[in-house]
Amino acid sequence: MINTYKTKCLTLLSLLLSLAVVLALPVSAGNITTSITATNEEGELNVADWYDPNDELEIKNGVLVIPNDSSSETRIITKILAEKDDSYTAMAEVSGSLKFTSLPAEEYFSIGFGLDGIESYSEEPESAEILFKNTGGLSIGAVYYDESGDKSEVAPFVNAGSVSSVLSFSAVLYCNDDLKLSINGREVVSAKIPGSLEGRIGFLQSGNCGAEIGNLNVVFHKYDRPENFDYIETFEKGVYNEELFTTAYYGSARSPAGMNVEDYGGSKVLMYRNTGRCYFGTKKQYSNFELSFDIPYISRETKKDEDGNIVLTPCDTFCISFGDVARDFDGWQFTTSTELVHFTLNTVWGYNHKPEKFRVPYSDMGFSDKNTNQGFSVKMRMVDGKFTLYLKKLADTEFTEIAAAYYENFRTGYIKFWSTGNSNIAIDNVSLKNLDENPNLIEAKFTSALIKVDDFKYEKIKPVFKSNGKEESEFKFLWIYISLGVSALILVIAFTVRIILNKKGRKKKNENV
């Protein structure tokens, strides 16, 4: 019996919690915001996100140092690309503090946008640069290089103060190809670029420019929209759709065991029977999604065979992982899954290498009868990092929210149903929906996961034994004939001797009588 008051409180609490979290923190995948800095956690140059082609640059006291004896080869470029999307207005934002230690009159320093490769140079075709020049004072303007490499000034050069002063800068690249730069809070560059600036961002120069860039931060916006399917797997064909799903099985401590499509309760289900570590997973990645499935059977009992061996146990922990980096994992890799929702018979919790996201003792909520092996239905929604978990009775149509959490670093990835050991559970009606804006859906074909193996065609060959390069028959029939002959001869001789001896014996006996 559902405790209505308790459920309502929990639901309200979860809603309030998730609302607070969403308001407080930036959203993430499908809508992903990636922030990169010049330094990593160790205080070294962040080579995971930046490429230093000439290995010249270094971090000193948290500041990116560009040496005074630089050349046009001295540059640093982001590995991440700025990309346009309708779901946001700004592709990228670059900010920090900038102090020139060398800016000769005949040279320039620049922030480049729309760069093609991690080794790009200044003046690359189809790129734009915000230029910093020494014209007696600091002058800042913007130029664009078209596909032929011809340069055009897209923002006039303006006086921005002294060359030696420390500047606080913020540059924003918009999806409508606007490029703006503010220095110390004042807009000094506003340019309309006659071309797309999707691509990398870098700090470039013509040569001999030295600078110190502090608190460097580049924020990229992206909408992750992986190609995938909306699909409901009912298993009614007796097999799962191999076009969309994959499985892996790593053994079991008990027998009988297996993970197969079976008949249960008048329907076909994917049955995990005494399974060890195994999974049923997607072959496509999902960003924003809704996953639902039925659990028509979940073991709550122990059964033994006539010899006392345990052949069935209550279902141990099973998990649903999402955001997995790889489609195929080995047996223990559920422990390294990005995100994991654990179910035991009593509790569900969201956790994996991070602080626990939620923990709910769902077995008291009345979604299934604890005295039978009947299960319940589960639904999960992930939208821009906001995760919501719902349960319902199998026969019900409406789900009840039981938990919500915010996954700030959630990434697109694969989804898997894991058995982590001693699972006795069936799943059915696995429904996947892509909840991305403008989803990248493809048509789901059906390919049976049954492996068909043709009979192996072989030819019988005569076994050949080689010795000293010669072929010899392995079974020496001649020896058999000889052996039989010798055996027979021995017998004949023995019989003859016996008969002769018997005759002699009888004769002697007769004589004695």
């Binding site: 990593n40 160790e42 070294e44 080579v47 995971a48 490429y51 082609p53 000439n54 290995d55 050349s71 080869e73 590995k79 690309l81 490769g117 991690i118 080794e119 997995d324 980096v325 790889a326 489609r327 195929d328 994992f329 080995d330 223990w332 890799q333 390294t336 990005t338 290498h353 034994f465 010795s467 000293n468 390069g469 010899e472 028959s473 392995e474 079974f475 020496k476 029939f477 001649l478 020896w479 058999i480 000889i482 052996s483 039989l484 010798v486 055996s487 027979a488 021995i490 017998l491 023995a494 019989f495 016996r498």
Partner: protein, 515 residues
């Protein structure tokens, strides 16, 4: 009478069964332990047995004094089980390199022999860089290779074409560029298998390229400092080519560039996925086409690139400044090797000139040596003769046959992979009918000046007995590309781990030598 008949029947059946046994099973392989019978114990590590059967067949037919036969095991320990034991009858072992040479027969006379009809000694046919790895500290050779292969970065030609990569990476920085281009086109640049895969071979390459082969063999692996002190902790604590190798990996072995699951799959799984297009590059070796014989059609799309030169080598150069100049020098060196240009096209007195830029002879040689350093694992597959063998001369004759032109042809025809020597004419073996991948192995080895590998005959006992190793057992590859951020390490963190291991274990390594 009935009793008599039954007894007779029993005797008949017994005699028949005994005689049947003698007719069954054929003739068992007998190893006569004599001065003319050569017993070979073979560790079948993936080369198959056909080449050895063919070799033995041909050897036995070529002369009448000796007779060779073999037994094989896929398990190295089983193949080596009898070595050095009382009653060991094996005359020739084909195994992994063994650090203890005390019971081995020197093979100098095999190397110094000239096979009839050939114009040079067997030694002269061997790659000099390889031989330098096989020379023991006492100046003798106790082992010579019977197998193994060239190691390098194998790449998917179709992926490279579709990613617009027209220049194969000449430097490690250029390798990072290629990885970036592949990644931006939706390809996964790299895959490997558990515990770093075959990247460890490339680590030895980059180490040797950066510090030079002389330091690599005669200082680091001799555990000897510049002043000649040995053993010395200094070789382990120096921020040498090992550190620079880690800096190379920092740019390319990242979670974004490496196929998920690489840190836990086995090498067959990794190779299969690679050949199926799951990744664009994988460090592998000559054995790839043999081990993946079911994927022979797919092999047509794969090739091995020349060893990229570690970009940090410019630290060691006085006239080559920066990545751009380094690439030009490598292109010039390649053009000579490929026959497009001659040395004189660049030579200017003692120096070289490339696009108006003067390159010193020393820098040219440094980069050339690096470019034509080819990691191999030949030294991991060694033939040795126990000195207590009753058929030492016979075993040596077998090796001379193996290393003759005729023997080499038998080997290459069956294995389709090179050994570190050439025919007496100086040519590589006849590779007609070989795949382009297989042919490239021969070409790469023929060009090789050095063959860096950790299996060095003269390496100090601190490595063989003490337990030291170049990276102290730290799995840096897994640490650099761990999908879980908590498990991921930076280069400096990895280097610190290595140094901690040195600090914790150096004294034990040294004391273990003395045991």
């Amino acid at each position: 009478m009935k009793k008599t008949i039954m007894k007779a029947l029993a005797v008949f059946l017994a005699l028949t069964m005994v005689s049947l046994l003698s007719a069954c099973g054929g003739k068992k392989q007998q190893f006569a332990n004599s001065a003319t019978d050569i017993e070979i114990s073979y560790w079948n590590a993936g080369l198959g047995s056909q080449w050895l059967e063919n070799m033995i067949d041909a050897f036995n037919k070529s002369q009448s004094k000796y007779h060779a036969a073999y037994h094989a095991s896929a398990n190295q320990k089983s193949a080596a089980a009898t070595y050095g034991t009382d009653g060991d009858t094996v005359d020739l072992y084909l195994l992994i390199m063994r650090p203890d040479k005390s019971q081995m027969e020197p093979l100098d006379d095999v190397l110094n022999a000239t096979v009839k009809g050939e114009g040079k000694t067997i030694k002269d046919k061997f790659n000099t860089g390889y031989l330098s790895m096989m020379e023991n500290a006492d100046g003798h050779y106790y082992e010579l290779s019977y197998g193994g292969g060239v190691v390098g970065i194998v790449y998917n030609k179709e992926h490279f074409k579709k990613a617009g990569i027209t220049q194969l990476p000449r430097t490690t920085n250029e390798l990072a560029i290629a990885a970036d281009k592949l990644n931006s086109k939706g390809y996964t640049p790299f895959c490997h298998f558990a515990a770093g895969g075959y990247w460890t071979n490339m680590s030895e390459l980059f180490f040797s390229q950066y510090d030079g082969n002389d330091y690599y063999v005669n200082n680091f692996y001799a555990c000897k400092d510049a002043a000649g002190n040995s053993p010395t902790k200094d070789v382990f604590t120096a921020k040498d080519g090992r550190y620079q190798a880690l800096k190379v990996y920092e740019k390319i072995i990242t979670p974004e560039y490496v196929m998920g699951g690489s840190n836990s799959i086995d090498h067959v799984n990794a190779q299969t996925q690679f050949l199926n297009g799951s990744a664009s590059m994988m460090v592998s070796g000559s054995w790839l086409s043999n081990e993946m014989s079911n994927s022979k059609d797919k092999m047509k799309n794969f090739a091995m690139m020349r060893s990229p030169v570690i970009s940090a080598i410019t630290d060691k150069c006085t006239t080559i400044k920066g990545e751009g100049e380094l690439r030009k020098v490598i292109s010039a060196i390649d053009s000579i090797a490929d026959g497009d240009k001659k040395l004189d096209d660049y030579k200017n007195g003692n120096d070289y000139v490339i696009d108006g830029k003067t390159i010193s002879a020393a820098d040219w040689e440094t980069v050339t040596n690096a470019r034509f350093s080819v990691p191999t694992n030949f030294t991991g597959h060694c033939a040795s003769i126990p000195k207590y063998s009753k058929c030492v001369d016979g075993a040596k004759e077998f090796l001379k046959f193996f290393y003759s032109d005729k023997g080499y042809k038998i080997y290459t025809k069956a294995v389709k992979a090179p050994l570190p020597f050439t025919l007496s004419s100086g040519d590589v073996a006849d590779t007609s009918g070989f795949s382009s991948f297989e042919k490239s192995q021969f070409k790469m080895l023929a060009e090789a000046k050095y063959t860096p590998t950790e299996y060095i005959a003269s390496k100090h006992r601190i490595f063989t007995d003490g337990g030291a190793s170049s990276f102290c057992g730290v799995d840096y590859i897994s640490a650099l590309c761990a999908s879980n951020k908590d498990d991921r390490k930076t280069v400096n963190q990895i280097w610190d781990s290595i140094q901690q291991k040195v600090e914790d274990n150096y004294k034990t390594w040294v004391s273990d030598i003395k045991k």
